[in-house]
Symmetry: C2
Subunit: 321 residues, 2 copies
């Protein structure tokens, strides 16, 4: 059996999901979108050396890839359904592919998404593109546009952990519970699918935070034609991040990137309902700022003073088109 | 403006197509599949140095990528609709991206497919993954399974030209009309979308020829649980290929790969109707063999004798999962 035949068999063990008329093994997958639903799609690429360190265990590449990709479905308040995978490998390497495929299948099952097709190719750089497909009731996708002046800006979870997790890999330190927590946040993002669906009727606009809060909130502001103020001291950081990186925690929470938390624009009178819904799911949700008529994004310190010169972006080679 | 912002703007000029509720620029594209239609998807990757030569002009990378990807929709007899693109670039290089995006937009328009999203990343190796989305009336996708004993095997166009075109790039020779023809067949595949749709009611099974006639026909035979005999001398070669590579033409037609022509299994009594339909479209369609109960694929010479030891595959690093 050739190496690529082995790879094919690894992936063919993936669970056949709902709505899959014809899955892996033909020229195309044939899929049935439920009546009354719109299709929501997003494609995301991870490149070894750009998005993860060379030598990252294959299972962690799989969970990171799926978490990041499915987070885009969460950002649209969509229900995950199907996955396709374009995998470029330096070698047809079963030792890498088998644990990757096993972790991918397990994580896909947890996230309610099923592998329906792919293309495996040889190339010098390990590169993975995942396209995710989901559904929303017609007209109900959560978009970046729609934020209104006076809205409050809410974020889920804690920010900056993923950047902290990366730091523990770049500058290794003794592994304790905090280090493990941050590395898990880096390697295994938890897309906020359920939270987005529950909050969808209550919010005006939203997206997921992949380039850092400031960069992504800017995208939302541009799409909505508004501005915002963010109070730096309200941006939620985990205790682990504050303990390990007290000097950097606040900056990374604003600009660290790869958080895969939600950033939402919510009418002031809906904030309480949103917080209650998040509380029912056991997910932290924090008000960090407000939408303004004045364009641009301003970050304020604890005394309400504008902080100048904050880095806006995270990785200009990783912007989405 | 950053280089990747420029790239984003290049792609945002793509035409907004039918059924696109929200296109490029949000976390996801939101798409409306027409009532009564099933969604058909396929993802294809091209890697510089594996699938095309380093230094290939960007416009030719674009036409090759789209031709190969849309050919999978043709293989399913689907109508092309939407495209997403994962582009990994060694540099954020506007000199490369602008002509690539322009050629992609033009070819996408010709093929009736519209760019709805993507992800642009940095990596050491130029890598492009295109996911194509199309529709078929529910239950009408053309599949690899379904070939029946006694069916005739038909192929569209001529085979081996793409392999010949590659040879003219690997071993350059004086450029004449034949060389230009073969290079065009290599760089600008013409997916047989219309032919597949017209023939769909008349055929039992089919696929597109990407790995070479023998390798792909084997896929069809395995999916259908049958065998086949192919008459080598009936496999159609172009005059250009025969003139430039008289020693290799027949082999390349059987095993050359990247032809992106259709291979169809058709009941004997439907062959005439198929040929007439192809004739109306001005597309060559040729009977090259028949489906047998005996498993396996046999190639026969002009006197009906079995030819042993023919290469089956084309590129084992490029199999699809």
């Amino acid at each position: 059996m050739g190496e690529f035949e082995l790879i094919r068999r690894c992936f063919m063990q993936a669970r056949q999901g709902a709505g899959v008329v014809t899955g892996i093994g033909d020229d195309c997958a044939v899929l049935q979108v439920p009546a009354g639903q719109q299709l929501v799609v997003s494609i995301d690429t991870l490149v070894e050396g750009t998005h993860f360190l060379p030598g990252t265990p294959p299972a962690e590449v799989a969970t990171r890839l799926l978490g990041a990709a499915v987070s885009d479905l969460a950002a649209a308040a969509a229900t995950p359904a199907w996955l396709t995978l374009a995998l470029t490998l330096p070698r047809g390497d079963a030792d890498w592919v088998e644990p990757f495929a096993a972790a991918l299948a397990e994580r896909a099952c947890e996230l309610g998404i099923s592998l329906v097709g792919g293309d495996t190719t040889r190339g010098a750089t390990l590169t993975l593109s995942a396209q995710v497909h989901g559904f929303v009731p017609a007209g109900q996708a959560l978009l970046r546009s729609g934020a209104q002046v006076g809205d409050r800006v809410l974020v889920s979870g804690t920010l900056g952990d993923s950047r902290g997790g990366l730091e523990t890999l770049l500058q290794p330190r003794p592994v304790d519970a905090d280090v493990r927590y941050l590395q898990q946040r880096f390697h295994r993002p938890e897309p906020r699918v359920m939270l987005a669906q529950r909050l969808r009727p209550l919010v005006h606009a939203g997206l997921d935070i992949s380039d850092g809060l400031l960069a992504d909130l800017n995208h939302l502001l541009e799409a909505s034609g508004v501005g915002a103020e963010v109070e730096r001291d309200r941006v939620p950081c985990s205790a682990a991040l504050r303990r390990l990186y007290p000097q950097d925690a606040a900056d990374w929470a604003l600009s660290g990137g790869e958080d895969f938390e939600l950033c939402l624009s919510v009418a002031a009178e809906q904030v309480t309902a949103c917080l209650a819904e998040a509380d029912r799911l056991g997910i932290r949700l924090t008000e960090v700022g407000r939408i303004t008529a004045e364009p641009g994004l301003r970050v304020l310190d604890g005394s309400g003073q504008l902080i100048e010169g904050l880095a806006r972006g995270y990785d200009h080679f990783k912007e989405s088109t």
